[in-house]
């Protein structure tokens, strides 16, 4: 570590369970962040600040004015720019010691297994079930740890998925809700600080895991309610018959339905 790095990371290097070895592990890590939106902005920012050596940001969307109440890597004037590119540039300004690459490609069930190969971890900040299940199944098959997060209105969820060890997203939710239960326009409402909490939790779990430290959300789903500020950690279990991480993998693509962000396309 050079002097600049020691100074930059000094406040985390002081931590009793953190030191040279842990910082080096972060530096050597290559993390995929899927989605550069409400979850992806805080999650990738904290990964970058902590010194994760290589971050690949996946997003095919462009910046809109309505993103700016929560997606703090973007500023007025950037509307119309590819999010992944704008965010990658901003993150390298925030921490020039690391490398951030933009992948402006839409993740699908067909390409996820190829696109997400070779990562030390994936932090999921996507906004619809089709991509979420594609990312989950690919992570399970490729045996890449996956740090799940989701938010809806004042509710947040987070869970850490370690292949071969913990329940995956599909163990907990084998199928997405049917189209009839999709959110209404009102449920597209989200507060930046709420989705920010979730992204920060995902990043904290990923950072500790990559540094080789114990993490708290294995086989646990954290449910945050920001109206009552209750944090519930419920126990989840692997399913032997899980089609993603169970005894036999069965590809199960999920169709895209109208959700928080894609509401714009589908109503």
């Amino acid at each position: 570590m050079n002097l600049n790095e020691i100074k930059r990371y000094s406040r985390q290097l002081i931590l009793p369970d953190f030191g040279t070895k842990q910082q080096l592990r972060l530096k050597q890590a290559k993390v995929a962040v899927t989605g550069a939106g409400g979850l992806g902005c805080p999650a990738s920012t904290y990964l970058a600040l902590a010194g994760v050596g290589e971050i690949h940001l996946f997003d095919f969307d462009r910046v809109e004015l309505s993103n700016l109440n929560r997606q703090f890597l973007y500023t007025p004037g950037l509307e119309g720019r590819l999010k992944a590119e704008a965010a990658a540039e901003r993150l390298m300004e925030i921490n020039p010691e690391i490398r951030v690459e933009a992948v402006c490609e839409k993740i699908t069930y067909d390409n996820a297994f190829e696109l997400l190969k070779g990562y030390s971890a994936i932090v999921d900040g996507t906004d619809n079930f089709a991509v979420r299940y594609a990312v989950n199944d690919a992570a399970a098959v490729l045996k890449v740890p996956l740090f799940h997060g989701a938010a809806l209105m004042y509710e947040g969820r987070a869970m850490s998925i370690i292949p071969g060890e913990t329940a995956c997203f599909r163990c907990v939710f084998p199928e997405p809700p049917p189209a009839g239960m999709v959110p209404t326009c009102r449920e597209a409402g989200i507060l930046g600080s709420v989705v920010g909490m979730v992204g920060a939790i995902q990043a904290t779990e990923a950072i500790r895991y990559l540094a080789g430290l114990e993490i708290g959300l294995k086989n646990s789903l954290l449910i945050i309610n920001a109206e009552t500020m209750s944090f519930d950690k419920v126990k989840v279990q692997r399913r032997a018959d899980c089609t993603a991480c169970g005894e036999r993998f069965v590809p199960k693509p999920v169709e895209e339905v109208c959700t928080v962000e894609s509401v714009q396309e589908d109503g």
Partner: protein
């Protein structure tokens, strides 16, 4: 009657503009609001979302002008407080 022309807007923005306009009218004593949309899913989602607001809005009529364009007539009550 007040008119809100939302042609060119999509969900959830169609609802956001309707909600804010209706609230302004409700605090100002209520009245009737005509919303024009040319994004068909909004014809279903605006009334549903307004009902979920629980503020006493009533969708009086939905007129189809052409293949994509609709007028939604909403009665906005006077808000208390």
């Amino acid at each position: 009657m007040e008119t809100l022309d939302l042609r060119g807007e999509k969900c959830p923005d169609t609802f956001v503009y309707t909600k804010i306009k209706a609230e302004e009218m409700g605090y100002a004593g209520g009245g009737e609001l005509k919303v024009i949309v040319d994004y068909p899913p909004a014809v279903e989602s605006i009334p549903r979302s307004l009902e979920e607001e629980g503020k006493g809005y009533r969708v009086r009529e939905i007129k189809k002008l052409d293949e994509r364009t609709y007028e939604i007539y909403i009665e906005v009550p006077k808000f208390e407080e």
